[in-house]
Symmetry: C2
Subunit: 282 residues, 2 copies
Amino acid sequence: MKVAAVQVDVKIGDIDHNLSQIVQLIAESRSQGAELIIFPECALTGYCFSDLNEARQFAQSIPGPATDLIVKALKEFGGYAIFGMLEPSADGVFNVAVLAGADGIIGVYRKIHLPGLGVDQFATYGDRPFEVYDVGDIRVGIAICYDSAFPESARTMMLQGADLIALPTNFPTGAENMTKHVMNTRAMENKLYFAAVNRVGEERGFRFIGETIVTDPDGNTITKASGTDEEILFFDVDPKESRNKRIVRVPGKHAIDRLADRRPEMYEQLIEPHSLPRPGRE
Amino acid sequence: MKVAAVQVDVKIGDIDHNLSQIVQLIAESRSQGAELIIFPECALTGYCFSDLNEARQFAQSIPGPATDLIVKALKEFGGYAIFGMLEPSADGVFNVAVLAGADGIIGVYRKIHLPGLGVDQFATYGDRPFEVYDVGDIRVGIAICYDSAFPESARTMMLQGADLIALPTNFPTGAENMTKHVMNTRAMENKLYFAAVNRVGEERGFRFIGETIVTDPDGNTITKASGTDEEILFFDVDPKESRNKRIVRVPGKHAIDRLADRRPEMYEQLIEPHSLPRPGRE
């Protein structure tokens, strides 16, 4: 399946602009044959809101006016899209990534790991586990930005059979090792495709570092964008590669298996609860 | 604390040679001020045995004649050492890494994740969880080679308070992304020091790729060896860096916490047992 990773700038608080940009880039990516089109985190809203009251103004229910327009575009042009936005929560907003197709909303992922940065400083913690969705002939897991720093995120979706993990992101200055090392590692350790789709540009003193990167089931980089330009990267996902977790280097001798070689009985500590104070939430 | 990562060649099946090499390199590393000296996987025995019967001849109880000589050297020269060897198991051998000091054996780690390669094809699966040990003023976790491809390994030791993870390894051709990306990621995601100490040379058609690498709590490379030469790399571990899991980029605003930001309630799937056949064990 051909997939597009769309690295763009976003105008904070200007949903009309960002929405028409998304619709136009869906049309363009479709004209080049992409079946799934992935946009950055908060591509509809922007990220660096000053406080919860400001952010609340740009949160929309799902489905709602903005997603209706995107679903309408997908009806017209075909394909699927994953894009970031804000969704109202009981006491604030969730930072979410939506998966939509011509028939409507397929899934809404609410960001689980929240850094003390931008809207995440006062967003509501994601309250549902990671999920994997059927998209055409592949299975797609969704996480957002900082989730990828926690190996448990991608691992959980690998265990649910993800062929591709789509990571809408807003990596800022300081996160360079994410695009230099972490996405290659996540793809390799889980033997799947990983697409970290970042934005470019600045918001209120924060610069986003671009470098949208797609890595393959061996951990190699398939394609990587610049640090500053708006670009669409296209890549192919071959589910045969991601579903066979075995690597045979010397037939009959040297073989490993990224899934079968796990020893879950040794991992009990990973699920022990903690009550440590979180930055900005103490 | 100053640590030495010793990248050497090893003679398969020649314990006398390998043992005197280890003793000599302990003396040399100590003369340059290292308090902890880390050797590769199977540094005492070699790795590519043809079958279990051959490997059994080189397994020694712990404590036993070989470790007695190493402990004697540590009594003479001071410091601590971590080195790989084979230990008899009920029905074969464990691939182990031993931590020893002047007063004797401190810990024996039995390799948990076994690839279908070398002695690991017929070694006994490690039967005890990952552990972390006090070594001078730092806490050291021990894993071996392929363990590092499973993020659960380092994570478990981070949760036990490791400042440094010592990874004696035998990375062969084909494992290049391990030294290119994975060690940086393990250090960064856990905010600790990670030392992957590989060997060089060949055994029965397998070449080992060297590239011993030490990474710091930000995921940057501190030092990296060549792919072919015997080398001792020295580095410092500052436990203040590994014990503070918080990163403050913009005071009062942008802060993350590698430990507190975890959401263990979302990781339940990671410990679900599986009964998948493993390469070479079907």
